[in-house]
């Protein structure tokens, strides 16, 4: 006794002769009904919405969270010649940073990770700017702003302070402004 296929609610019972001759397993073909597929897409939509909301909430929490970092003396900074740089670590040993003394004698410090793909930037004293060797990005030595290249935002700034003739790192400010924004 064969049963005629009427609609998707009855699709699992389809046993017409032409269906039997067709070289696909009818049971496998009918594993997902249209309604089940729509429900799956609805769940996917809910998951994508939850993911977007979760990421936004996490970012908002991170923005509000203020972490006070310990001050650390930068060894050798006092004897740094103008138009040269010195590498140091701040706030932990794993966070490499670069201290620059520009030609006018002013000190500036930045996180050493390029904001493009985290390559270490270096001070190109010939051009008096910070350059990334990986993808040819460059940053202003006095402000940390992007001069050109693929980096999407300025370098993280490290706050420095002069105490009794010594240079101390006292905080780190993640950059947030977009290039041109």
């Amino acid at each position: 006794m064969t049963k005629k296929l009427s609609d998707e609610t009855d699709v699992r019972a389809a046993t017409e002769p032409f269906q039997a001759e067709f070289p696909y397993e009818r049971d496998e073909e009918a594993q997902v009904t249209r309604r089940e597929f729509c429900n799956f897409l609805g769940l996917t939509s809910a998951a994508l919405f939850a993911g977007a909301a979760g990421f936004a909430a996490k970012a908002a929490l991170d923005e509000r969270e203020s972490v006070s970092l310990p001050a650390a003396r930068i060894d050798g900074a006092e004897s740094l010649a103008p138009n040269s740089s010195l590498n140091f670590s701040y706030p932990t040993e794993r966070d490499s940073a670069i201290l620059i003394r520009t030609a006018d004698g002013a000190y500036h410090a930045y996180g050493q990770k390029c904001t493009h793909l985290s390559c270490p930037v270096y001070y190109a004293h010939d051009h008096q700017r910070l350059e990334c060797p990986c993808h040819e990005g460059a940053f202003n030595a006095a402000t940390g702003d992007v001069l050109y290249g693929p980096p999407p935002r300025p370098l993280d700034a490290i706050e420095i302070e002069m105490r009794d003739g010594q240079i101390w790192a006292i905080g780190r400010t993640p950059s947030s402004s977009e290039v041109g924004g």
């Binding site: 729509c38 897409l41 939509s45 994508l48 990421f55 936004a56 970012a59 908002a60």
Partner: protein, 66 residues
Amino acid sequence: MLVMINIAQLWILAATVDAALGRHYPVLVPLVVASGVCFIITLSIIKWWRPTSRRKTSTGYVRDPR
């Protein structure tokens, strides 16, 4: 239509992750709202869409005889 909305939401999620990691906070709320609108449209389609071959009766949707 539902697949297209899912693809749009996937794109919005990628933009949200990119904005969160890049600390572009002002764009996060519009992105989440856009994703929420897509989700509401998806729910609406799933709840109310029926094939044109169906006819609404007092007992629900039935298929017209051929």
